[in-house]
Symmetry: C2
């Protein structure tokens, strides 16, 4: 069997052994439902609280601000759905480079007659000026991602939040909720939610070697309300029996990622630099500043993304022609690249190489060699 | 440490060793995102499809009708939320004995100005006559549960569906969606979704020794539409990276439960009969016909549920004074019992004993003895 060399860690990562051990141990040991009042329930609830405190410590926030979800998609959905409680039709500001879990809400929002402004991100960055121009007295939600999943650009969320806060002050103090999808950030780049000043943020465990199907919503805005409170779990923010083993496993994976953040970032940055240097004969789309070292978007210029990536797949390399989530939706990464005003020639031939702490230099060298060979064969 | 004797399997069950093994094996082996187009993604997608086929075989339905979710709460939510796409305000029929994941929607529905009819269930059963009277030309959704989680009554969903279908025919054929929350049914009582004639049904893996945080929505109605299509996973019905290990594990647990359904039901029915016989000195709320053997609701008449159950907790018994999900919501099982027209005296002193294939006769005898002793001490 052909060796698989995995460069699609922005799509998903494999569970770490630590995370898997915690999952197994929890599933075997904790028999109760955290909402039950008996001994088994109390023990489960204690581990749930402990996991929340552990996540809160990693994120440097109050445990009360954290709601466990089935992933970042659901965390994003809770914030967007919350607007359905508003009796007046709100104005919403999103960017054209948001992940589909946010951007697909545009369809529902338009259907409901809400006003939406979609900001572009020239060269990958959303500008404070564009945001300032877009704000209106009807704006209730601004959702802009922290690290872009297609090219890796890191938005200056702190400045963007300040634009919103200034607007609020100038306009009588009415609250505008600022949400950030921080899925590609946790365990990869250092950030402080409190320093950024966002009202809410979404995370997904499987992006940092935790289990799939688990995520967390950070929220400090009491006006965010879940569509249904269901069984009242997670302080009414997210109904359904808590995935205790998954949650404890996520906390373990997050701790592992946080403890090794610096060392992993150095290792990954070195591989990223190697790729940038050796692939300089093609076009590097990801900017060399304010960009996650974990994502490198390049363009061959010579063959469509789908063709070139398929040739790489055939040689055992797992890269991406867009985000995994955009493969179903038939709207490839090009939508994001267009919003970044990347030329169609580059957009059509782009390839996303995404790394993790598991990525080896040996695999990177093999990928470089494969791209060089394929390029020479087809130029 | 005190031995835990677990009688709260309607709240949650522990993962079977088979389910845990499948989880671990999948998490270790399948590195890709099922939405990715490379080898690792294709392998993950193949296992996802295989798990769907396995679940479909167990439910005797077309795999295309199944959407994997984070649990029954989310499966119920997809159906309820789908009504938000309707431009006209719909009329909805629910029962007062629904699980909180359905019943809590009443708040949102009322807020949005929809009309809601809540049916009672005298002695635990929803009557076809009441349903027939409640139907209007504006009715768009009827949601009635298959097995009640507090007392175990099995509704005659087939007859209830027929009432709706007759109404549709008499009124120009306009479609009314019939949903059933079948969380307490799968792997426990035999049923056929196609025979019942429902449009959709919700299930949760952790109720049949599968993992928490995984469930499935059965749906045959093309007009059901997710609020957000997100990354387009699950044919656009449920966005978010699929919890592959959880899904494969659920399929394994469902197969185990289905393969042993008859044997487990016999074993559990025997324990249920023993409990009914030996506890006949107190009041048995759960009817002795059309009732799941897995749930037995009794009333001591002498002490409030919370007090009696706490005494049992102190002796190592895990029983419930309502559903686990109602503990957070501060609306105990009594709401359900009231809707069943159970007298307040019985409702206030009720205890839910719920069984699983793991429940031993020895534990049941110990519970009987404990209840007898406590009763004699407090009568």
């Amino acid at each position: 069997m052909q060796k698989i060399r995995y460069f699609d860690s922005a799509a998903t990562t494999i569970m770490s052994q630590t995370a898997l051990n915690v999952y197994e141990e929890t599933a075997k040991t904790y028999i109760g439902n955290p909402s039950s009042l008996h001994t088994a329930g109390i023990e489960a609830k204690a581990l749930l609280d402990q996991s929340r405190s552990q996540m809160a410590e990693i994120l440097h926030v109050d445990p009360k601000t954290l709601t466990f979800t089935s992933g970042a998609t659901e965390a994003n959905a809770i914030v967007c759905n919350s607007l359905l409680w508003k009796l007046q039709k709100p104005h919403v500001i999103l960017s054209n480079i948001e992940h589909s879990s946010i951007k697909e809400y545009v369809r529902l929002m338009k259907h409901l007659g809400w006003k939406i402004t979609l900001l572009n991100a020239p060269d990958g960055f959303i500008s404070a000026q564009d945001l300032a121009k877009a704000l209106t007295k009807q704006t209730r939600l601004v959702s802009l991602m922290l690290v872009n999943n297609v090219v890796g650009t890191i938005q200056d969320i702190k400045s963007l939040v300040q634009v919103v806060r200034s607007f609020e002050t100038e306009n009588g103090g009415r609250k505008i909720h600022f949400h950030t999808d921080a899925t590609q950030a946790l365990g990869k780049i250092p950030f402080s939610l409190e320093d950024l000043g966002v009202d809410s943020a979404a995370f997904s465990a499987h992006k940092f070697h935790g289990p799939k199907g688990v995520g967390v919503l950070y929220n400090t805005d009491p006006s965010v309300e879940s569509l249904s409170r269901g069984g009242g779990q997670e302080i009414g923010m997210r109904a359904g029996t808590e995935n205790l083993a998954g949650i404890a496993s996520m906390a373990a994976a997050a701790k592992e990622a946080a403890d090794n953040l610096q060392a992993n970032a150095e290792k990954v940055s070195e591989i990223n630099a190697l790729l940038r240097k050796e692939l300089s004969f093609i076009h590097i789309i990801s900017p060399d500043h304010d960009c996650s070292p974990y994502i490198l978007n390049v363009a061959t210029r010579i063959l469509p993304s789908e063709v070139f990536t398929r040739m790489l797949y055939d040689r055992g390399f797992c890269v991406s022609s867009g985000s995994a989530c955009s493969n179903n939706a038939k709207q490839k990464g090009e939508g994001v690249l267009e919003a970044m005003q990347i030329s169609p020639e580059l957009g059509r031939t782009s390839i996303r190489i995404s790394l993790s702490s598991d990525t080896s230099k040996e695999d990177a060298l093999a990928l470089i060699q494969a791209i060089k060979t394929l390029y020479q064969e087809h130029v």
